[in-house]
């Protein structure tokens, strides 16, 4: 008991320290996540009350003084009957509470998971170990594919269609909505709305192999106008290389194994086994949230992906030393 209390006291400051906007269940950023958080808090309140009561009774029971007697079998029938009634009443109360909580839970569930206005629909395909994001539209020329970084408009209902190309993954951005599995051969849906512009982090929540730990997703919530601009920019093909360095970089890209896995729209590169790099430089992270997208990190990532993310399917490519900087020039130009 006392130890527990000490533990709680010790960790509360830590908890507060941990409450940055990294990815947190209890820092909701949309109506669905708020519903979830509220449900959590109400369950927590009721259940902790019960726990404290049980412990109180236990403590009193252990400490109270009682008559001395030697024969363990010398029971008082009256007391036994009273205990029986109390236990029955408590059992009944337990039943009522759990049924009540179940109903509260079902109410929230019905609100959260009833299919609503589809709004903006995206298809998200889990890969070992990155997310492929396909923006859908009735007009196919407005569809496009990107990776790991999700731009979404605020105030618009979002529908995510989740599936997987290999093993089971689980899409989870705690500040926005509960998780939903992406399962091979099935398509799951999850709907939510974001209220506040901002950046929300999420992460694969189903063990999916060696690099399960490095399978993050970044959600950038923007105003509808910003989102629209971004979307228009994304549908454009990749910027054509301007400088000599960039041109050489494209050549490096096309003449190395890069071209076999990655797509850069507008160039002959059409690989779909790795993330689409058409607008790579517009993203903030590399390797599904493993590294920040800086020139240095990019260089490190390209020269030794296995050092940062052992087991990742990006192979160690033996670039000629002179090729690295043009390649970086080119990749950084892919706004």
């Amino acid at each position: 008991m006392r130890a527990l209390r000490a533990a709680i006291i010790a960790v509360v400051p830590l908890l507060l320290a941990g409450c940055d906007r990294h990815q947190s269940v209890i820092l909701p950023a949309g109506p669905e996540a708020v519903t979830l958080a509220n449900l959590f808090w109400s369950f927590l309140a009721v259940l902790m009350l019960i726990w404290v009561l049980v412990l109180l009774v236990l403590a009193v029971g252990l400490m109270r003084s009682r008559p001395i007697g030697d024969d363990p079998l010398a029971l008082q029938p009256v007391a036994e009957q009273r205990y029986g009634r109390i236990v029955s009443a408590l059992a009944l109360a337990t039943g009522v509470i759990v049924v009540g909580l179940s109903l509260v839970s079902y109410d929230a569930q019905a609100r959260l998971f009833s299919p609503g206005d589809a709004g903006l629909t995206l298809k998200i395909v889990g890969h070992q170990w990155w997310w492929e994001i396909q923006y859908e539209d009735a007009d196919p020329s407005r569809t496009f594919t990107t990776a790991n970084e999700l731009h979404l408009p605020v105030g618009v209902p979002i529908t995510l269609k989740l599936t997987s190309s290999d093993v089971i993954h689980s899409f989870w951005v705690p500040s926005l909505m509960g998780k939903m599995d992406a399962i091979t051969g099935r398509e799951n849906q999850v709907q939510f709305t974001i209220e506040e512009p901002g950046t929300y982090r999420g992460q694969c929540a189903e063990f999916c192999g060696a690099q399960h730990a490095h399978m993050a997703i970044v959600v950038r919530a923007e105003t509808p106008e910003d989102f629209s601009d971004w979307r228009t920019a994304q549908t454009a093909p990749a910027a054509s290389p301007d400088t000599d360095g960039e041109k050489a970089g494209l050549e490096v890209f096309l003449s190395n194994p890069c071209v076999s896995c990655h797509a850069i729209r507008g160039t002959p590169a059409g690989g779909r086994t790795g993330p689409d790099l058409t607008h790579l430089a517009s993203r903030s992270m590399l390797g599904a949230g493993t590294l920040p997208l800086t020139r240095g990190a990019l260089a490190a990532w390209i020269t030794d992906p296995q050092g940062t993310k052992p087991g990742v399917h990006m192979p160690l490519v033996m670039l000629r030393p002179a090729d690295l900087h043009p390649l970086l020039d080119y990749l950084e130009s892919l706004e």
């Binding site: 941990g18 990294h22 009774v57 236990l58 252990l62 236990v87 039943g95 909580l101």
Partner: protein
């Protein structure tokens, strides 16, 4: 029927009776005796020791993981090894420690508690131990050879399927499941038959000790639940080795079929571990409150209800898989509802404590620690039963915290208490109270320091089964605290180990009934003689050693120079038969070796089934073929 097997115990002097029975029931010395014994106490003791060794190995795996996780972006352990470690940890704890240790206690204690001389089907019992041992050794040897399973103890397909888990790692895992299931099922059968048919005369159903009730219900749960995972693991291995398509969504299979089969076993599994623990708690609280457990009937009905309900909860492990919403909601209700029988048990124990005169010996401390932590874990379980909350905290450290509260708080604490409680019976020595209290204090603090902060990690968004986490996540400090707690918890177990070793180095000095407990096992010597009881007791109450202070009534007329057990009727335990009980034999071991060869062989070629079928059959025939004019079974 002519009596052809000689001497009956009727009228023998106590000393001679004891000597002759010990000769008849005794185990030969030396290696041969060790390999051939069918004595439930020897087998049970081995089981317990082996299970605790696996606990140690699983704990070491956990410590390695905590070391890696103590700082963000740590590079101490490669992801490949980390995956193997957490898989070995989960697998070992669930399949090689928790279930076997609970069954081991049953193997040791149930025959004593119901007042018989050996467990039913003792050769099967010996066989089950060998199979368990070989299975556990196999998977750890595989781990040592870098063929350790790396897909988690739940081994979800397609990750564990043939495409995404090349090599033999998962094959070993799936076969290990088969090993442990075979041994668990065998014990379940033995325990049920022992409880049904070998109770001492007069021990009617309403006089069975609560621990035995718990083991009985557990055994039924094993009988019905384990075949589910065996079906699943067989399908998995067929997919992997024969190219079958149970889990291939492209060819009509389904990845979720595995999850259904696994959790249809997996949730009852939790209760298979937990129910015996409640039996232990009931015994401990009864003895150390010095009064009968309050609400025997409530407790028994609760145990049975939990056993039933545990089969209706599996879907709450799958709330994030996109199953139909209404169906999920029903499982919310059923999952929450299991709180009622569990609550009743808690209330009964609290009532017992309230009314009793508690003695704060180490077992009692663990029982109290159990109530504190288990109620906490149970209540967070109610949260997990809610579909919406579940979608947030599922597969995060919140869940890790929850089930460690339930499994360590709910099962390991009672188990440790039970070990302190029954240790004099097992070994003839009492464990040190002082070390025991230190053990409890360190374990309780270490446990809570380890697992309570994990709730916060989970709420802070940290998923399970990650080998590292980013530095800017803000999880680093809590993780460091958790690792520190884990170290403390680990130290407490080392203390426990020291306590056990130190006790074993002393001369046996424990009295037959050091705690003044009411159960029949305390009527036997500490440690019990090979035949358990010189004369089979005649039971007239629920608490025979309390009600018959003057000494137990016994029966006579059993053979002393053949192994004979008294078979009684199911409900009232009226004496019915004098069945022979098998002698020591090597065949269970040879069968287990043949079985192991077959299981391991199939990993490498499907023809192993054919190769080993013939020797297996031969061995089984040799096992059962009568060796003497008077038949054994």
């Amino acid at each position: 029927m002519p009596d052809i097997e000689g001497q009956l115990d009727t009228g023998l002097a106590p000393d001679e009776l004891r000597a002759r029975l010990a000769l008849t029931w005794g185990t030969a010395g030396g290696i041969w005796g060790a390999l051939t014994t069918v004595d439930h106490k020897i087998v049970g003791r081995r089981y317990i020791v082996t299970a605790f060794i696996f606990l140690g190995l699983g704990g070491l795996a956990a410590m390695a993981m905590r070391l890696q996780l103590s700082r963000p972006e740590a590079n101490l352990i490669s992801p490949d090894l980390y995956d193997q470690l957490f898989t070995m940890h989960g697998t070992t704890m669930m399949f090689l420690f928790a279930v076997p240790v609970m069954e081991a206690f049953a193997v040791y204690l149930v025959p004593l508690m119901v007042g018989t001389r050996n467990i039913a089907f003792p050769r099967l019992n010996a066989f089950s131990y060998w199979v368990y041992l070989f299975g556990g050794v196999m998977i750890w040897v595989a781990f040592a050879l870098n063929i350790g399973a790396d897909t988690g103890w739940f081994a979800y397909v397609p990750l564990s399927g043939p495409e995404f888990s090349p090599g033999k790692r998962v094959d070993f895992w799936a076969q290990m499941i088969t090993f442990t299931e075979v041994s668990a099922l065998a014990i379940a059968v033995e325990v049920i038959v022992t409880v049904f048919k070998q109770r001492a005369p007069g021990m009617s159903l309403d006089r069975i000790p609560l621990f035995v009730w718990a083991q009985l219900v557990t055994s039924f749960a094993v009988l019905l639940a384990m075949p589910a995972v065996m079906t699943g693991s067989t399908m998995l291995i067929l997919d992997r080795l024969l190219g079958m398509h149970f889990f291939n969504p492209a060819e009509g299979g389904d990845a979720l079929l595995w999850q259904h089969l696994f959790w249809f076993f997996g949730h009852p599994e939790v209760y298979i571990i937990f129910l015996p623990a409640t039996g232990m708690v009931s015994e401990i609280i009864m003895v150390f409150s010095r009064r009968p457990a309050f609400g025997y009937l409530y407790l028994v009905l609760s145990i049975i209800a939990v056993g039933f309900l545990s089969f209706g909860l599996w879907v709450h492990h799958m709330f994030a898989t996109g199953l139909p919403q209404l169906g999920s909601a029903l499982f919310t209700a059923s999952s929450a509802l299991i709180a009622v029988p569990n609550g009743i048990q808690i209330f009964c124990w609290v009532a017992t404590l309230w009314d009793g005169r508690p003695r704060f010996a180490t077992p009692m401390l663990f029982a109290i620690g159990f109530i504190v932590t288990f109620v906490f874990g149970g209540l967070s379980g109610v949260m997990l039963a809610s579909v919406p909350i579940n979608t947030q905290v599922h597969d995060t450290y919140f869940v890790v915290a929850h089930f460690h509260y339930v499994l360590i708080g709910g099962s390991v604490f009672p188990l440790l208490g039970a070990t302190y409680y029954w240790f004099p019976k097992f070994s003839g020595r009492l464990l040190s109270e002082r070390l025991g209290q230190w053990h409890f204090a360190l374990a309780f603090i270490g446990f809570n320091l380890t697992f309570f902060p994990m709730h916060l990690l989970g709420l802070g968004g940290m998923p399970r089964r990650v080998y590292t986490y980013p530095a800017n996540s803000g999880w680093g400090d809590i993780n460091l605290l958790v690792s520190g707690g884990a170290l403390l918890f680990f130290v407490s177990f080392m203390l426990f180990g020291w306590n056990v070793i130190a006790a074993l180095r002393r001369e046996p000095d424990a009295p037959d009934n050091p705690w003044d407990a009411p159960g029949l096992e305390w009527a036997a010597a500490s440690p019990p003689r090979p035949h358990n009881f010189d004369r089979i007791p005649l039971v007239a109450s629920r608490h025979p050693l309390w009600s018959d202070r003057g000494g137990l009534l016994t029966v006579s007329g059993l053979s002393v120079d053949t192994r004979e057990v008294l078979v009684t009727s199911l409900a009232e335990a009226r004496p019915d038969l004098r069945e022979t009980s098998p002698r020591s034999t090597i065949w269970p071991l040879i069968s287990a070796i043949a079985t192991t060869a077959l299981f391991i062989g199939t990993i490498f070629t499907q023809w192993a089934v054919v190769w080993f079928a013939v020797p297996m059959t031969a061995v089984l025939i040799a096992w059962f073929w009568p060796k003497q004019a008077v038949d054994d079974t």
